[in-house]
């Protein structure tokens, strides 16, 4: 058992959860900001360029004034990576309480929109906390005594879809699914393109949906999957997504997709379940790494997909 000195204090966990959440709502991480600037500078269509310039200006104004960068602050959610040797004070029940409390406080303090409502009665508790809210996902990391808390404000009623494909559909089946997904959601800019696309391939149905969301939200621009087959598909799909020409806001332009990130999971021999998620241009996330001495480091790259998390090399 760890000694009392090794425990990560409850107060520090709360503060990191609060701060990561606040920063995520206001400041687009650097990889995203740079990618939108590149899209703006490389855009050949004047109208799309105008829209991209407004997006970049909005990112900067949000930081300068501490305002949420989109008026729809999405569904605040957390991804928690736990070092194998990490021990939160009060255990994981206390950690979860801190996450809920942080969401409620940030909702009030920086004026997040109170988005979370009862799905049938539509009753709104007013603080983004409720049944299964905020959602929290966990992963583990060997040889580490820290905790990492990643806050994501996932916006968008549009952009996520699931399709049961079969081996006979092949890579073409995934390409067609991407085109369908773009034609459905990038049209009129409903999913707020340029988007970052996550593709979850394989596993069970729920697993590929989850992986697609994590791939969209938790990997940085330009990152490629370690499996060369998957990495090649990421390149191919990025190009295909941009060839659709929907562009910023769906008004026609060169950049519809900033990047495509694919994740795979071993699956049933008879099928290829695939899910696609789009992370809108409100590209909102922030990661805090918390050490046992209570100090926290904040960064834009969640480093969520570690070799251990993907179970690389484990058979």
């Amino acid at each position: 058992m760890p000694t009392a000195l090794d425990l990560i204090a409850q107060e520090a966990i709360y503060r990191a959860a609060y701060e990561a959440n606040r920063r995520a709502a206001v400041a687009v991480p650097l990889d995203g900001l740079r990618a939108y600037e590149r899209a703006r500078d490389g855009e050949s269509r004047p109208l799309a360029r105008y829209v991209l310039a407004q997006m970049v200006d909005n990112f900067k104004l949000a930081v300068a004034e501490g305002r949420p960068m989109c008026g729809d602050t999405g569904l605040p959610r957390y991804y928690v990576k736990i070092g194998n040797e990490a021990a939160p004070e009060g255990g994981f029940v206390a950690l979860e309480r801190a996450l809920r409390q942080a969401v409620a406080e940030v909702t009030h303090d920086i004026q997040l929109r109170a988005n979370r409502v009862h799905p049938l009665t539509r009753r709104n508790p007013g603080n983004n906390v409720g049944v299964f809210a905020p959602s929290v996902d966990y992963s583990f990391e060997p040889d580490a005594d820290w905790l990492e808390i990643t806050a994501v404000h996932k916006g968008g009623l549009f952009g996520t879809d699931y399709r049961m494909l079969f081996p006979g559909d092949g890579i073409d089946g995934i390409k067609r699914f991407l085109l369908d997904n773009m034609a459905a959601f990038a049209r009129r800019g409903l999913s707020c393109p340029p988007v970052t696309v996550g593709v979850g391939i394989g596993g069970a149905k729920d697993q590929c949906v989850r992986l697609s969301k994590e791939a969209a939200c938790l990997r940085v621009q330009g990152d490629r999957h370690p499996d060369p087959t998957v990495a090649a598909l990421e390149d191919e799909l990025t190009e295909l997504g941009n060839k659709t020409g929907f562009g910023a806001m769906g008004l026609g332009g060169d950049t519809t997709v900033l990047d495509v990130h694919a994740e795979i999971a071993y699956t049933h021999t008879g099928g290829t379940p695939v899910a696609i998620s789009q992370f809108c241009h409100a590209y909102r996330r922030c990661t805090a790494r918390l050490y046992p001495d209570g100090h926290a480091e904040y960064r834009g790259d969640p480093q969520w997909f570690t070799p251990y998390y993907r179970r690389e090399g484990i058979s």
Binding site: R67, R113, N115, R176, L179, A184, R188, T244
Partner: protein, 229 residues
């Protein structure tokens, strides 16, 4: 930057105050850019349901004060009892409210509807034209900080208790709220329909050689060039 950028993109730009005059609305053409100063009120699912289905009347004085509505729930809070602030503002996708527009424009006398991404051209032709109304779209979307900064004051929030804060009717004083894109004008044009035509020609080529999935789903659209609403 806005005036210069607007010119660079070859767009016409209007600065309009509320309540908007029929004349000012009639001049707007699909593809123009608008900045609004004055008062705007929010309405989405909750308000439509409350007023159009349950028959509640608009708050007293509202319709004289403004004829501009936004399909939005602001990112804002009650800082002290009855006092609200807005940090960030954005509209939600408007197509799903097309069904309410005729009765809503009639009941509230609205001439400008600000939404996200507009509605089908047929709605402009069958409903908006009749009321001399135009449909604006936020840009970006999600220029939340830019639109939020344009909110000078929250005048009043109605029905927060009945509808919840995110569905309530907010009355906002705004200064140069924009840029907003004229999506549907009083002639019944839709700016997005123009963009879609060009994109669809391109899409057709990309689909060539890609088969339908082996296993299809019942009840869904199979024609990628069509709008799904």
């Amino acid at each position: 930057m806005t005036e210069r950028a607007t010119r660079a993109a070859d767009l016409r730009e209007w600065h309009i105050t509320t309540p908007v005059t029929p004349d000012a609305v009639a001049k707007l053409r699909a593809g123009d850019i608008v900045y609004l100063t004055g008062v705007v009120f929010t309405a989405r699912d909750g308000v439509y349901e409350h007023t159009l289905k349950q028959g509640h009347e608009p708050p007293p004085g509202l319709c004289e004060l403004t004829n501009v509505t936004m399909q939005s729930s602001p990112a804002g809070v009650e800082v002290s009892p009855g006092v609200y602030e807005v940090a960030s503002l954005q509209a939600t996708a408007g197509f799903r409210y097309a069904q309410y527009m005729d009765a809503f424009l009639e009941k509230f006398g609205v001439k400008l509807v600000i939404g996200k991404a507009g509605m089908a051209r047929e709605v402009y032709q069958s409903v908006f034209q009749k009321h001399g109304a135009a449909c604006l779209s936020t840009m970006g979307y999600g220029l939340g900080a830019i639109y939020g900064k344009a909110v000078e004051r929250v005048r009043q929030v109605y029905w927060a208790k009945e509808l919840g804060i995110s569905e309530a009717l907010w009355v906002l004083e705004v200064k140069e709220l924009g840029p907003l894109l004229v999506e549907g004008d009083t002639l019944g044009n839709s700016f997005f329909e123009g963009a879609n035509q060009e994109i669809n020609r391109n899409l057709e080529k990309l689909y060539q050689g890609l088969k339908q999935p082996i296993f299809r789903r019942l009840g869904e659209e199979q024609e990628p060039g069509r709008e799904l609403f």
